[in-house]
Symmetry: C2
Subunit: 141 residues, 2 copies
């Protein structure tokens, strides 16, 4: 048992930012910790701003958005588009898909390893597959 984040709080996150070519600024470090220090999560910009404020981190909304997008481009986050009018950012960037509970806006991951999507048609001319998203929309019964 190694209480890493307690003894060397910034080190791991700092390296991830460096590796991604992002300057480890105060805001980016703080947001990265909020995002990555608590396992897999699905976060909206507003939630993250709230958590930052709550944790005493001063960040503007503009920076929240900038950071979320930069992290996404760097492959540290994945943007999940399932709900019209709001984007979720997923800290799980491994190969997986989503359950989306309609109405309550809850998202759950499930591993892609277990499922098979076969016989996909060829993509439109002049395009290349970038990713395949499977969204299983469920309803509470």
């Amino acid at each position: 048992m190694k209480p890493e984040s307690a003894t060397q709080p910034f080190a791991p996150v700092l390296d991830r930012l460096r590796a991604a070519g992002l300057r480890p600024t105060r805001q980016r470090l703080a947001l990265a910790r909020l995002l990555f220090d608590r396992g897999d999560r699905h976060v909206t910009a507003e939630q993250l701003l709230g958590e930052a404020a709550h944790g005493g981190v001063r960040v503007s909304m503009a920076t929240i958005y900038n950071t979320l997008h930069q992290f996404t481009h760097a492959g540290l986050l994945r943007e999940v588009v399932v709900d019209p009018g709001r984007s979720y950012f997923d800290t799980n960037v491994s190969d997986h898909h989503h359950f989306f509970v309609e109405g309550s806006s809850e998202l759950y991951d499930f591993d892609a390893a277990g499922i098979e999507v076969r016989h996909l048609p060829v993509p439109p001319d002049g395009t290349r597959i970038a990713r395949v998203d499977v969204i299983v929309r469920v309803k509470k019964d």
Copy 2:
């Protein structure tokens, strides 16, 4: 060859609205024709408003949205959520999935019959699968 929409322009659409329990008002009829008389399409609210205006149909934006949602509930349309910040409405309600060209916001259908999604995990407790969406995100190369 039966030029149906030329000789009995309102009849088919009228029946679809009736069947869906929607009063066939002037606006709904006009929008239904714009939507359904030209094969499978992916339309945004703004596009539809534009087409209506262009075709001399007077409709407000509020009605466009009301109608799109009512048609969706009635199963005449399907809402496609792939692009953060805008909804597409698909006049193809058969079992199919989508190619989405990132950047250019183009959507293409592909039939679900050809593909297989197997070994889906069980949905979260107390929920039932309503639909499975497969979105193949492609990029121009």
